[in-house]
């Protein structure tokens, strides 16, 4: 369904991603992992058409998305990393805006928006401005907006951030059902336990390059490590967190000599 071919993008000469290629099939949930600054957001921005690659292309059902961006956008649902919303709109008004921009009929918007808000426990807040929402509530509005038009490809960038335990569980169940519906899902997260549970495949990216692309179980088996977190640490060569924490406590203890 979705195929990335040799994507390269640099900013002011500094490469953000190099030669990024992978495929996502219908009904597949692909975890896209990497430390901060690895190139995940750049890749996602290219897929959503917000950024042009310097090289390479993105194919959707064999067609370059740039050839018919409108058609591609109409099947794409996207939940960005940061819950950037128009804060002065209410949750319902935001969903209505998105629905209208997507060309849905008023009746359809009304039905879907109110039901989604109710299911996401936002019914009582639907007329309140988003500025008064908590982080989790904003995240739920974003999830509702991404599902409004029944997309075929879904990109979730840190969707669990700010969500409470119940909403997070609901989201995990939702992912499974979306995959069963034949949707292609790209799932970006730092919560590796969840990735391990819900993703069919995991792609690890660091310093702009793809380091691994395999099912989680296969990765742990291949590297003879107990879980995905250990695999991830090994692959991206994370810093010695214990030593850093010790140093932070030392800084905290510095006394004022006045």
């Amino acid at each position: 369904m979705l195929e990335l071919q040799n994507l390269c993008r640099s900013f002011r000469g500094i490469p953000a991603i190099q030669d990024v290629s992978f495929k996502v099939a219908p009904g597949e949930v692909v975890g896209f992992l990497g430390p901060n600054g690895a190139g995940k957001s750049t890749t996602v921005k290219i897929i959503t058409g917000m950024l042009r690659p310097n090289d390479g292309r993105v194919l959707f059902e064999g067609q370059d998305i740039r050839k018919d961006m409108v058609a591609f956008r109409s099947v794409l649902g996207y939940v960005p990393e940061e819950a950037h919303l128009y804060n002065y709109l209410s949750g319902l008004e935001y969903l209505q805006l998105v629905g209208r921009l997507r060309g849905l009929s008023e009746a359809m918007i009304e039905t879907k928006a109110t039901r989604l808000l109710k299911l996401l426990h936002l019914e009582s807040w639907q007329y309140s401005p988003i500025s008064s929402y908590s982080k989790g509530m904003r995240q739920r509005v974003l999830i509702a907006a991404a599902l409004l038009h029944d997309p075929r490809l879904l990109i979730f960038d840190e969707p669990l951030s700010g969500l409470d335990v119940v909403s997070a569980r609901l989201f995990k169940d939702l992912l499974e059902l979306l995959a069963a519906e034949g949707k292609a899902v790209i799932y970006i997260s730092h919560v590796l336990e969840v990735v391990e549970q819900v993703c069919n495949r995991v792609i690890v990216i660091a310093k702009g390059r793809i380091l691994a692309d395999a099912p989680p179980a296969e990765l742990t088996k291949l590297m003879s490590l107990p879980n995905l977190e250990s695999v991830f640490s090994q692959l991206v060569q994370q810093q010695d967190t214990r030593a850093t924490a010790r140093e932070m406590v030392e800084v905290m203890r510095i006394a004022d000599e006045r």
């Binding site: 959503t48 058409g49 917000m50 961006m69 409108v70 956008r73 109409s74 794409l76 996207y78 960005p80 940061e82 950037h84 919303l85 128009y86 804060n87 002065y88 709109l89 209410s90 319902l92 008004e93 209505q96 805006l97 998105v98 629905g99 209208r100 921009l101 997507r102 060309g103 849905l104 009929s105 008023e106 009582s124 807040w125 639907q126 007329y127 309140s128 401005p129 008064s132 929402y133 908590s134 509530m137 907006a145």
Partner: protein
């Protein structure tokens, strides 16, 4: 001097100094101006404008000595005109400061949440905020009067001989301080008691409306208020209520009382000034104290998440879903963003002032007026201000980070986005001005001329909208702008030149064509044809255009000239 100030400041508590500095940088309403890190620069520019006004007034004072008035009445006219103008300008400046520093003297939720866990006493916060606001007003008084006050005291005060200069100078400064204190404290009183009387949610909505109302009131008063050139004229003023309800006249009377030149029949105005000042200061002090005692506790007690009220939620529908989305997005952005509301209110204040002056002249007239430049020019100007103002406000971005949703849902051609923006401009600028003009034309006649004028006005509005849309391939409030590209001074003068070059000839042409039905028909046909031509031209251009969300700098190649 610098060391002395530093030493004196050293006696103040550290927490007060830290907070005072913070509040001074935040005293202007960042939400309404959206300048964030440029506060210091903004204040510098603002002071620069005031100093310039002061210098121009001082030059006027010295120029008046080249051909001085020859009679006592002439001198009196000059003195009264100068004093009234100076007080009005001072009150306008302080009024505008009160608008841009709206609510900043009162504790907001952020202050409470950030400062409550820290070892800072509420009274320190109160004093720091009051001092920051006071310094802002003080700087404005100083910048606006340092040159003009000295120059006019020298020219007008010295004429009295002896201590005349000093008396005039003292009267000038004391009046300016009193008038400024009255106005600023009155605004604080209104804000404070509104905050105390209403629940926070209602207050926030009401406060935004009050801010706009105050803005319109200050600008409207400045432009509409008549000037009196001698005591007889003022005492004989038929509309006694104008004097009684206009603080600038009270402080004008106070000025003359302090200067020792107040006619006895105007003493009541000076009494009003003193009473007003006392009430305003008392009101501001008590409302501030009460707010700091109650609001800070209330802010902490207020739940973080409160479900919204059901209420009435009507969403009008326009021709298609995209037009509905863009029009409603624009209307909601404009009405709910303080920055955009204030910016648009600046233009609307001119419309309001013109409409008021038109209404006043109509109400005082005995018989119906013929349709002359007296109505044509003001209505054309209103249309120009409303359309150009809204177009300028559309260019101010509201939340750039949230634009991703518009980018990822861009499923229709640019042409449809342009059509949606056109509809919004027609709905928010042209229609209200046209309806206002229609209402204001009730005293004009004959009916045919009024009908032709209103038709011309509608077509002119449409033409202005089409002109505004040329090259405007963006959704209102969503496009970033390059720093330095929005050259405000150039824009302002461009605006004035366009107003004179476009509106005045149009008004003159209409006036000359009104009395001839053939000419009127030709004028209407021509305007309609022009509107249609511009409409199709914009549609044609939009077909090959791309909606953009970022202004990008022109790519340029710099030649180093190393071959030479």
């Amino acid at each position: 001097m610098h060391k002395l100030i530093e030493r004196l400041a050293g006696y103040l508590p550290l927490d007060f100094r830290v907070l005072y500095r913070q509040f001074l940088l935040r005293v202007i309403d960042l939400e309404s101006l959206s300048i964030q890190a440029d506060v210091v620069r903004f204040l510098g520019q603002f002071a620069g404008v005031l100093i310039m006004i002061s210098l121009i007034s001082a030059i006027r004072a010295f120029v008046s000595t080249i051909a001085p008035p020859t009679t006592a009445a002439g001198w009196l006219n000059l003195e009264w005109g100068t004093e009234q103008s100076a007080i009005r300008t001072m009150m306008l400046v302080v009024g505008l400061l009160a608008v841009i520093s709206w609510d900043s003297t009162f504790p907001d939720r952020k202050d409470v949440m950030v400062l409550s866990p820290l070892p800072v006493a509420p009274h320190t916060i109160l004093f720091a905020k009051v001092c920051a606001s006071g310094v802002l007003v003080g700087l404005a008084i100083l910048a606006l009067n340092f040159a003009s006050g000295s120059a006019w005291s020298l020219i007008l005060g010295s004429r009295r001989g002896g201590l005349g200069f000093f008396q005039f100078c003292a009267a000038w400064w004391l009046t300016m301080i009193a008038a400024s204190a009255f106005l600023y404290c009155s605004v604080l009183t209104v804000q404070g008691f509104t905050a105390l009387l209403f629940p926070r949610r209602v207050f926030l909505r009401l406060s935004a409306i009050l801010q706009l109302a105050a803005f319109g009131l200050f600008l409207g008063t400045y432009f509409v208020q008549p000037s009196f050139t001698n005591p007889a004229e003022m005492a004989a003023c038929e509309d006694h209520w104008i004097l009684a309800s206009s603080p600038p006249y009270w402080y004008f009377a106070l000025f003359n009382q302090l200067n020792g030149s107040l006619p006895s029949q105007l003493r009541w105005l000076a009494i009003r000034a003193w009473t007003g000042l006392l009430l305003a200061v008392f009101g501001a002090a008590s409302s501030l104290l009460l707010c700091y005692l109650h609001t800070m506790t209330k802010s902490v007690e207020e739940p973080d998440l409160v479900p919204g009220a059901g209420g009435f939620h009507w969403t009008p529908s326009f021709s298609n879903s995209l037009q509905t989305a863009i029009a409603l997005f624009s209307i909601r952005s404009l009405t709910r963003s303080r920055q955009h509301r204030v910016a648009f209110a600046f233009y609307l204040a001119f419309v309001f002032a013109i409409a008021l002056s038109l209404l006043r002249s109509e109400l005082t007239a005995d018989s119906p007026h013929p349709v002359t430049l007296e109505i044509i020019l003001p209505t054309f100007s209103m249309m120009f201000f409303a359309v150009a103002g809204l177009r300028n406000v559309f260019a101010l971005p509201i939340s750039l980070t949230a634009n991703w949703v518009l980018r990822t849902t861009q499923l229709r051609p640019t042409e449809e986005y342009v059509a949606a923006t056109r509809r919004t401009l027609l709905l928010l600028a042209v229609a209200p001005v046209w309806l206002l003009s229609f209402a204001l034309s009730f005293r004009f006649g004959p009916v045919q001329h009024v009908a032709v004028h209103l038709a011309v006005l509608a077509l002119l509005g449409w033409i202005l909208v089409e002109l505004c849309l040329i090259g405007f391939y963006k959704v209102a409030f969503t496009c970033s702008y390059l720093p330095g590209k929005a050259n405000i001074q150039l824009q302002f003068w461009g605006f004035v030149i366009a107003l004179i070059a476009f509106v005045v000839p149009c008004a003159q042409l209409e006036e000359s064509a009104l009395h001839d039905s053939m000419k009127s028909a030709f004028m209407l046909t021509f305007l309609f044809a022009s509107s249609c031509a511009l409409f199709f031209f914009n549609r044609y251009l939009a077909r090959s255009a791309v909606i953009y969300f970022e202004e990008l700098p022109d790519e340029g190649i710099t030649t180093l000239g190393l071959n030479a």
